[in-house]
Symmetry: C2
Subunit: 508 residues, 2 copies
């Protein structure tokens, strides 16, 4: 983002109204395809704005407890309808700010995914089952999951709709749980966020003011102070490891539930037997999964682990060819492009050899060459910490091990990831190998996958978009999949000997 | 504890064997009734012991995944049987080390509670429902809660059986979840813990060595290093706020699930209408709950909130009389007695007046006078942080407010507690007051109680022994109540496109 003055800066959404921000700084976003600054100015909120939003959210939370859940359900459905009615301007804004293709990605992929999530959350509002109501009539004790309080949702750069703080999975889950949301728009797509927030406000007309609020930006210190504020019930963050860890620390220190999704290399083990059976489809799947959307997915397969074999050589060569011949990616911003370049160079300094790509293109915008790196298994093990650094974008590290036991050691040296995949022969000849590797990999991931790449996170009730640290901050919870994702924003509440008429209806 | 040499110190339980500890320090416990040092010497483990226990637990965890859950169930049932068979020596040791009465507390209260918890956990081992298996057949995606890995369980001083790291609720829940346990015995009851561990080892004969291990003590730094170790899946701590926060910090920094139960004042609002109807029974309940077991309960009602009224004066007078005429408490140790005295003096320095008690008795042992303090609501609000300091033991702070809105302000100024109670008139005349206060109190507690004191935590599936920080570290989970308590030691695991024969049986 580029710093600018607050003259004509857009207002922020606080307590049901669009009001001028009280801060003195503003920023503008970029068109990633050209690198040009976009005209709209957005404010950096100071503590006065944050304080007002927190107070409004706190009041809204108290009021929401007395409102039928069906009202929240209606809001989410209405919001989904309005997003669909505004598909044109929303997709245009998101395309301009992210350079993601209108078709299929934004218009028939991400936007429908977003409205579907909102509608699934609408169902979850009135579905009592996931709240785990438990009645011990003999003991006159009852418990149920209840909302935590206002949630600060900080969305990432890579999904302008589906993970946007004002419309994405965390937003939908928090609302469905009964929590007001203060969204922080991502500074790389403020106009998309503003358009969404305008529609959200319209849909939320009959909810307490302060149920849905949005700020565009704030200084780091103010953000951390906000995360620790007693008026806030929880924090949901998706983004960089560094920023996420600082929010996690701020919330942990005051014992506030915090759900961070940080980084993941999403290891994919490709065994020789699988390659001998299905070389071409596996190459296709790898290239598509690794380079789609500029590789800017939290489930991007950043680490491909293979075993030395002639077919593995063919696989490596085919990847190199396809990476070289595929168009370079346009990344979301200059920070992302610089970060990717830094990570690629860091992997090289740790012992990885550059097979193709590496570095930005000469053209305009934030373009980066499709990058394939390679390292031997023994060398990986010597610098396992460094070589599992996430290179967020269109870069992949191929590891070639000399044996299955080396693969096992390597998997044992990995930190937590969202996913781990194993491609093995379909004829059963690699089943023993699978049985040896899968338990080691499973302990390090939130989703174990067979014969498939990790991108494409289905919005299924059985999904886990989560995993051991540092993939996320708590491996018990998923960020995708209704109604499970709602559980993050709840706490267990018990009613002991509470008189019948005073109990929540669900527990009577 | 008193420092001593390691000559003749008891061995530690590591990897299935009782082996001499490798450290150079040892300690002895006390008889709280006399203050005399007890003869048995117990080792302070150094890192070598801890390292060996972690490695053994890690191996045991891998092996446990391939063992039928029924084996764990059999272990827990056998352990419960053996505890019962050893009631005599166990109760004698616990009485000597804690001064808790044999009857009813230890023999017919806590020991049966402990074996009941173990047997309920045995049922949870093979009950799939709480693991929330979810199958999306169309998407070929499945998820289930799976064990986190070895759990370090650090038990408190106040329940030598029911919360002991080697036999209590956390132990039982972790085992039922499929996690090996490394227990740290409490230094105030090492012999009780040793006897339990001996029985546990006997019961665990056919489980992987390292499923059940115990150390007696370790230096703080080693304990924190252990909490952060990658071989450990989770930490469960019950005890002092200061120690608990240091474990929480160590685990949080590496993103390891940590469940701490720290401190709670457990506010009890006693409205005048309730007193007019039931003065005598409420006095009885208050005195029993506040002074029982020396008040050394995590759910001790430390803060009684009333409204100025002639009947409130009667209530205050009756409490003072009863506190003065009840025998003083024998506390668990000199540290606890000093800590209580410090807290009582701190409350006085913050504006509370001493009504009766305050200070130790002249006699032998760790005896402390039943202590009642009083403060006006307006003064409480001026020093709300200081005046909600937990005074762990037989001390109670009575607050007298001038109005219901002052009570509301006071409740709003409280931090998280395990419980919150409201006594109100049964004739409905205080229902509006209840409706005003209950939502404020509910947001700050894990269990809302009507017309009842908070002590006596039923082991019910609907129980929540948990609550907002600093009562615990995460308000989503309960430490008491099967099978819910088991969920703490699990993570969500998803199987995506995993071939049928490779799936856990539960998900096929």
């Amino acid at each position: 983002m580029s710093q600018t003055t607050t003259d004509h800066a857009h207002p922020v959404l606080i307590a049901g109204d669009w009001r001028p921000a009280t801060g003195t700084k503003a920023f503008q976003a970029f068109n990633p395809a050209t690198g040009e600054t976009l005209p709209d100015r957005y404010p950096v909120s100071n503590w006065d704005d944050i304080d007002a939003a927190l107070t409004a959210a706190d009041s809204a939370f108290a009021l929401l407890q007395a409102i039928p859940r069906a009202k929240l359900s209606e809001f989410l459905n209405r919001y989904a309808d309005l997003i669909e009615a505004n598909t044109g301007p929303l997709v245009a804004a998101a395309h301009l700010e992210t350079a993601l293709p209108v078709l299929p990605r934004l218009q028939v992929g991400e936007l429908p995914r977003t409205t579907s999530q909102l509608r699934q959350a609408a169902k979850a509002c009135t579905d009592p089952s996931w709240r785990m109501p438990t009645v011990d009539a003999a003991g006159n004790i009852r418990s149920v999951l209840e909302p935590l309080g206002p949630v600060l949702v900080i969305g990432p750069n890579n999904f302008p709709f589906a993970f946007n703080g004002i419309s994405g999975g965390d937003f939908a889950a928090a609302i469905a749980a009964g929590c007001p949301v203060i969204a922080k728009a991502h500074h790389l797509h403020p106009t998309t966020s503003r358009l969404l927030a305008e529609v959200a406000q319209q849909a939320a007309c009959d909810l307490p003011a302060g149920t849905v609020q949005m700020l565009y930006a704030m200084d780091n210190d103010d953000g951390l102070k906000m995360a620790a504020d007693a008026r806030l019930g929880a924090v949901a963050f998706t983004g960089s490891r560094e920023a996420g860890l600082s929010f996690k620390k701020a919330a942990d220190e005051v014992g506030k539930p915090v759900f961070v999704e940080l980084s993941a290399v999403n290891p994919v083990v490709v065994l020789p037997g699988a390659l001998r059976e299905r070389l071409k489809p596996i190459v296709d799947e790898t290239v598509t999964s690794a380079l789609m959307g500029g590789g800017q997915f939290c489930t991007n397969p950043g680490l491909i682990i293979t075993v030395a074999d002639s077919v593995t050589d063919e696989f490596a060569q085919a990847l190199a060819d396809r990476y070289g011949s595929s168009p370079p990616a346009t990344l979301f911003g200059s920070t992302g492009a610089r970060g990717l370049d830094r990570s690629v160079k860091y992997l090289q300094s740790a012992g990885a050899a550059l097979i193709c790509g590496g570095g930005p293109t000469e053209g305009a915008g934030f373009q980066y060459r499709n990058t394939l790196l390679r390292v031997e298994g023994t060398d990986f093990l010597k610098s396992a910490d460094a070589l599992q650094t996430e290179a967020f974008g269109n870069a992949t590290l191929l590891v070639v091990c000399q044996s299955i036991s080396e693969v096992a050691s390597l998997l044992g040296a990995l930190e937590g990831s969202l996913t781990g995949s194993i491609y093995s022969a379909l004829d059963g000849s690699e089943d023993d190998t699978y049985d040896q590797l899968a338990p080691i990999l499973a302990r390090r991931v939130g989703r174990l996958i067979n014969d498939k790449m990790p991108t494409g996170v289905a919005v299924s009730p059985a999904m886990n978009h989560g995993g051991p640290f540092p993939a996320t901050g708590h491996p018990h919870f998923t960020a995708v999949g209704m109604p499970a994702a709602c559980r993050r924003f709840t706490r267990l509440m018990c009613y002991d000997n509470v008189r019948l008429q005073r109990l929540p209806e669900l527990l009577r």
